[in-house]
């Protein structure tokens, strides 16, 4: 039986849920179902949609929202937060090392070939220390739970983690629909995230810039699946939302076109991938980036958040070395567990993985968003056979993990509530000398009974995530 976060084996509410459950017991189920439809209307009205790649009818869908919150106690959160902070500090130290002395490779703790043959390693970052030494200004650490005190890190999203707008919209919607609930349960705030993000980005500005650094959000534009989030965050932070053609190099800085002429930008929160960031340096045909921004960056005149080349830290092949990485840079054992990971590049391991496909989850090393993965226990025989062929032809492209028995949290269904598997993506802000973990995050929930795939692109939904003041 998977661990249910709300109810114990005797169907009694666990501690963190006791107040919520007593409130729930007083509610009329029909009213809750109405509220649930109201929530959908709110999301439609705010325009919070996302595009699903590869679906023709397309395009824009609302991620289903479930009105039963996911509740985490203050004690559980503190433990998690310490583990995340340690991990994020190690990731930044790793990036600095990889683009400078590479001591971890010299020490033999991470094999050279893993970096050497990795497309996420960006030579253009060699010898480049970003302002304040921060590489990953924003990280979304994907965490799953399997028991009372058992948490595992599934992925470190160190490139451009998305989803924070859902965290904010989910909370706002809950507070709008159930104000009384927030009087009864003391929930830590997440709504100050845009302010904290702005402060954290400002604190990472290049030294010597004006008193009040100018921050802007760079979006690929309205056709990007996360455009809504880019516009939302810029709006909430009170900064400009810009696209590549709005920017050019002027006076040794990257400047944006305004009605009063060009104004220099100190910190660019970019939601454009490395490859497209600078046509003079990376893909020449890219119209989404800014020609010459890498030159300005290396000259120390702008902060790019996150730094280019951070993908080397959240690569799934590197992931399997995270326990070594944490220990190497922090000198301490990791506080948070890694999911045991089989590297299919190793012949003996590949054989094991092929023999046990039905029990494993297999992922592409460079993939994301749940595309191109195999979930053994729910896959058909045909799917497994087809996947085995892909795996054999390019073993180095895959890693495999045991199927974890993810915890469940109930969702509202026609008759009462029913448990569904969840994961959690807390958001972490890194500034020079300061790491902040927002108390909450994005809880993704598989809407189909028994399903372990929570990705929104694969039909998952979301929940508000409550961290209690205790």
């Amino acid at each position: 039986m998977p661990f249910d976060e709300m109810l114990d084996a005797d169907n009694r509410p666990r501690g963190p849920y006791s107040e919520y459950m007593s409130w729930y017991g007083e509610q009329d189920h029909a009213r809750l179902l109405t509220k649930s439809r109201d929530a959908e209307a709110i999301f439609r009205k705010t325009g919070i949609t996302f595009a699903v790649y590869g679906k023709e009818e397309a395009a824009e869908r609302i991620i289903p929202f479930d009105i039963v919150p996911r509740v985490i106690s203050g004690r559980e959160w503190r433990k998690l937060a310490q583990g995340i902070e340690q991990r994020v500090a190690a990731l930044n130290a790793f990036l600095d090392d990889i683009y400078h002395k590479q001591e971890i490779i010299r020490a033999g703790r991470v094999p050279r070939h893993l970096i050497e043959r990795n497309e996420a390693f960006l030579p253009e970052m060699i010898g480049m220390r970003p302002p304040g030494g921060v590489y990953t200004h924003i990280i979304g650490t994907d965490i799953v739970r399997t028991g009372q005190d058992e948490f595992y890190v599934l992925e470190d999203n160190a490139r451009t983690p998305s989803g924070v707008s859902y965290m904010l919209e989910n909370r706002e919607t809950m507070m709008q629909m159930f104000p009384e609930l927030f009087h009864r349960v003391r929930v830590r705030p997440v709504e100050n995230y845009p302010m904290l993000l702005r402060q954290s980005l400002e604190a990472s500005a290049p030294p010597g810039c004006a008193d009040k650094p100018r921050v802007a959000v760079l979006t690929p534009g309205i056709y990007n699946s996360a455009y809504y989030e880019h516009a939302f965050l810029a709006d909430q932070m009170g900064v400009e939302l810009v696209e590549g053609p709005d920017l050019r190099v002027i006076g040794g800085r990257v400047a944006m076109r305004t009605t009063q002429g060009y104004k220099p930008i100190d910190v660019l929160y970019r939601r454009v991938d490395d490859d497209f960031l600078d046509p003079l340096t990376f893909r020449p045909e890219s119209a989404l980036g800014v020609a010459g921004i890498m030159d300005v960056y290396r000259a120390g005149n702008i902060t790019i958040a996150n730094a280019p080349g951070t993908g080397i830290a959240d690569d799934k092949a590197i992931y399997s070395y995270m326990p070594e990485i944490v220990e190497f840079y922090t000198g301490r054992k990791p506080l948070l567990e890694n999911v045991p990971t089989y590297r299919c590049s190793e012949p003996d391991t590949l054989k094991y993985v092929l023999d046990n496909l039905a029990d494993l989850v297999v992922k592409e090393v460079h993939g994301s968003g749940g595309y191109g993965m195999l979930v053994g226990p729910t896959a058909s025989k045909k799917e497994i056979t087809a996947f085995a062929a892909k795996l054999k032809s390019r073993p180095g492209n895959y890693i495999a993990q045991p199927t974890l028995s993810l915890s469940t949290v109930p969702i509202l269904v026609k008759k009462g509530v029913a448990p569904r598997h969840v994961d959690l993506r807390p958001f972490v802000l890194v500034a020079p000398n300061r790491i902040q973990i927002i108390p909450g995050g994005l809880t993704r929930v598989a809407l189909k009974a028994g399903s372990l795939v929570v990705n929104s692109s694969q039909g998952g939904g979301t929940k508000d995530t409550w961290v209690l003041e205790d």
């Binding site: 683009y99 400078h100 002395k101 590479q102 490779i105 050279r112 050497e116 030579p123 253009e124 970052m125 060699i126 010898g127 480049m128 050019r248 190099v249 002027i250 006076g251 040794g252 046509p279 003079l280 020449p284 020609a291 010459g292 030159d295 300005v296 290396r298 000259a299 120390g300 005149n301």
Partner: protein, 264 residues
């Protein structure tokens, strides 16, 4: 030997240009075998936006067009004192790891002809093999201007059997990396006996040999660099060291004129 260089690059535009960027790698640095006495870059029609060291340690400048010019002219000139160091430019410095120099690039990817060429080189001693490789390339690929262009790959040039120093260098890099030698492209100037005026910069390759460090091989001339050579920049291939590269906006057509003088 004291060598005086003047290197002029001039872009003429059919209509005034509003926005253009040029990235320059035109500044030699002092190091083993060369001391820069004086060097400067004069620029017309553009201004320097930033100056920095790139990931290979090359001094790099970014220019932008200034004042909607019809023309951008860049003249790098100065004097460098050189000495013969038997082609050995010395130990590896900087953060770029040696293994990076084993990476293939689009221009240096080794296909079967280059792999066969590399395998055909006899010898056990690393230096002997690299010299053998240089001699073989020198022999198989005739020096011929106009047979190739800046986008020609190592494979294409070998197949053609002709090319210029850029092609000889790319073939050498491709084969040397296949033989597991870290290898890099070097751009620079070469003092020639029979002429002062030249139409392009020179290029050669360096391979890393344990115990010696970086050793130069000029396959176009079949020799290792001596006191007639001045190094400007290094990288994985021509793209990384290109003396002037850039982008521009608008429909203007561009004509380019390069004039180089190298003299004692």
């Amino acid at each position: 030997m004291q060598i005086r260089v003047s290197h002029s690059t001039e872009y003429n535009y059919s209509i005034p240009i509003h926005y253009a960027l040029q990235r320059l790698r035109l500044t030699p640095r002092s190091g083993r075998g060369q001391t820069v006495v004086n060097w400067q870059t004069d620029i017309e029609g553009a201004r320097v936006e930033v100056t920095y060291d790139d990931h290979f340690g090359n001094l790099t400048q970014l220019l932008s067009a200034e004042g909607d010019p019809h023309m951008i002219r860049i003249v790098a000139h100065g004097e460098v004192v050189t000495e013969d160091v038997n082609g050995v430019s010395g130990p590896h410095v900087g953060f770029a790891p040696l293994w990076l120099y084993l990476r293939d690039t689009h221009l240096t990817r080794a296909g079967k002809p280059i792999r066969d060429l590399a395998r055909s080189i006899p010898g056990k001693d690393p230096l002997e093999r690299l010299h053998g490789l240089m001699a073989t390339i020198s022999d198989k690929v005739a020096y011929e201007i106009g047979a190739t262009d800046a986008k020609t790959t190592a494979e294409e040039a070998l197949e053609n059997g002709s090319g210029v120093c850029q092609d000889h260098s790319h073939i050498f890099l491709s084969a040397a990396r296949f033989l597991d030698f870290p290898a890099r492209y070097v751009s620079g100037y070469l003092l020639m006996d029979d002429r002062t005026e030249q139409v392009a910069t020179h290029a050669w390759a360096e391979a890393f040999v344990e115990g010696l460090g970086w050793v130069g091989f000029d396959a176009a001339n079949g020799i290792s660099p001596d006191e007639r050579y001045i190094r400007i920049a290094t990288g994985l291939d021509f793209v990384d060291v290109s003396p002037v590269s850039g982008i521009r906006h608008g429909n203007s057509t561009e004509t380019l004129a390069v004039a180089i003088t190298v003299e004692q």
